[in-house]
Symmetry: C2
Subunit: 341 residues, 2 copies
């Protein structure tokens, strides 16, 4: 007989830190294998041009994570109007391995931000924001160089961070074939921004899930069709649907609404669901959700930074080795980097 | 002594039709010179995916202008969600010489429209909307293939139509060196959209003008600096400025506000100005503006369609000739196409 006065805790809360630690171990191991002798620490150039204190804070964390894990982080504060030229310079600098830009730069003009994103060299696009990377992601194409298939396409950091969390939570079922490991799972994603929510819904559906993508304009269903027979997801409007329809049938609820006041209605979530918050605000009511969910991940930021470094190592692995003496072993290690993806 | 009871009319009103006619003559002549023997009519594939009746109307006009001038126009009605795949097919079709898409497709999501634009093959981007074309325009780079400089970069249609109108109105001064022909002119552009107003302000400033770019968020000054010493325009915020400051000092007023109710305040426009409306609504008060302006162009739509065909011929001129027998003369004609730009 249990002596505790408390009810048994049924919800397991997992922090981003725990999950990030695993990923960072893998990143460091892989980096050690693919680096050529005598090469220095890889360098990430980060551009801050919006004066956003949240972005500055995030940049500080990123710098610390970089330095703790054997990477250089070069924060460059630039004027908005000079940003394009500064990115073009970094594209040419041999010591820069990857480029990150803190968006939004022009919050009233998302098309201008897209224009800036397209300026980053494809081989340094650590955020996976270039059109070719996004196109491959939406089309479920894993490589940049078919038919050789040696260069992996880069996936955007926050969506990939959520995928890595779902793998850690074993919602990806490793018994199923790679690429189909979410088959049978129903997932609601609240937020359909071009940067996070829409790519995330596409990635999860491409991996076999039935995904309800919800934003203020309505609900869209992302799936690979009956029996996941299609090679990539299709999108369908769900007229008249809302959270009332989506949440009670969802195994997983992922929310990324960027406002402080927004809360996912706990009463609609099914018992034993997995809940993940990727907003910088708390989209779930913490005490209440722990009475309903089986798994709860309150934030993803640290996993996103780990994925950023993982992408950086991926970009290095995509490049041909420079020194002929090293090239045999290094080339093989580069081909094998993150082979489980 | 004049017998007329009317005041002498001091404002010359020029229609888009008159200006377009000139351009279409040049387009037909150039096409005849650069076409290889036995090649059929060039074909423009146009994608309509938004069900917008304005776009349908515009497509009808475009079709008529195409067919009257020796071009094929293939209107393709597709579902929004299928648009990307349909564009990819057209990229591969040898008989398609240029691709146009009627935007907005996702009016609430301009980033998604940018994603779709980037899908069009660079060699078929008749609208000049691909990042490389826009990048060259903003940087005042005329060619896609330095240092050979045989492939001209494509400029976006509406901004280029306004440039062609300003040339027709002799506001571009042919006595000055090409590239500097707006030096000394002050121009206000009302609208700073990513598709029209901002590229237009950049093009005019790159050609030497002092440009005030005005939208609801404020005024920006686009210039090549004192003595137009810089190779391309710089942008500077004009805090506290509004139309009250810009219009009285502007030789040219260009407006493209996409709302029916908006009117440029006539009383602020200087006597003898040139006024051009590129909105599909009438941004100038017709009777009043004719008492104030020296030159007035009430719409640009037909010039835009002429420029679209001009861009299509430019794309064909950019391609290497296929038949060895023709290649000498054709190659020369292709290099010389629209040589005055």
């Amino acid at each position: 007989m249990m002596a505790s006065q408390d009810a048994v805790k049924t919800c397991r809360v997992l922090t981003a830190e725990t999950i990030a630690k695993n990923l960072l171990n893998e990143v460091r191991d892989t980096l050690a294998k693919i680096q050529e002798t005598g090469s220095g620490q890889p360098m990430l150039a980060a551009f801050l041009a919006n004066g956003d204190p949240h972005a500055e804070k995030y940049a500080e964390w990123s710098k610390k994570t970089c330095e703790d894990n054997g990477f250089k982080f070069d924060l460059r504060n630039v004027e908005k109007e000079a940003l394009e030229e500064e990115i073009m310079k970094a594209n040419e600098e041999e010591e820069v391995d990857g480029i990150i830009v803190y968006y939004p730069i022009f919050p009233k003009n998302p098309s201008h931000d897209k224009y800036v994103q397209e300026t980053v060299d494809l081989g340094k696009d650590v955020e996976g924001m270039r059109h070719q990377h996004l196109h491959n992601m939406y089309h479920n194409i894993r490589y940049l160089d078919p038919p050789e298939n040696r260069k992996k396409s880069i996936l955007p950091c926050t969506p990939l961070a959520v995928v890595k969390i779902l793998e850690y939570l074993q919602i990806y079922n490793p018994v199923l074939a790679a690429g189909n490991r979410l088959y049978g799972k129903t997932i609601t994603v609240i937020n359909r921004s071009e940067v996070n929510g829409r790519p995330l819904a596409a990635l999860l559906a491409n991996d076999g899930a039935t995904v309800y993508s919800v934003d203020i304009t309505g609900v869209q269903l992302f799936t690979r069709g009956q029996g996941i027979k299609k090679v990539r997801h299709q999108v369908e409007d769900k007229e008249g649907w809302g959270l009332e329809q989506c949440l009670p049938i969802s195994d997983v609820v992922i929310s990324g609404v960027p406002t402080e006041s927004y809360k996912v209605p706990t009463e609609l979530i099914r018992d034993g669901a997995a809940c993940i918050n990727f907003s910088s605000y708390k989209n779930f009511d913490g005490p209440a959700i722990k009475e309903k969910a089986a798994l709860y991940v309150p934030s993803v930021g640290k996993v996103t930074i780990a994925v950023l470094l993982r992408n950086l190592v991926r970009l290095i692995a995509n490049r041909p080795a420079k020194k002929p003496a090293d090239s045999g072993d290094i080339a093989q290690a580069r081909n094998e980097a993150f082979a489980d993806d």
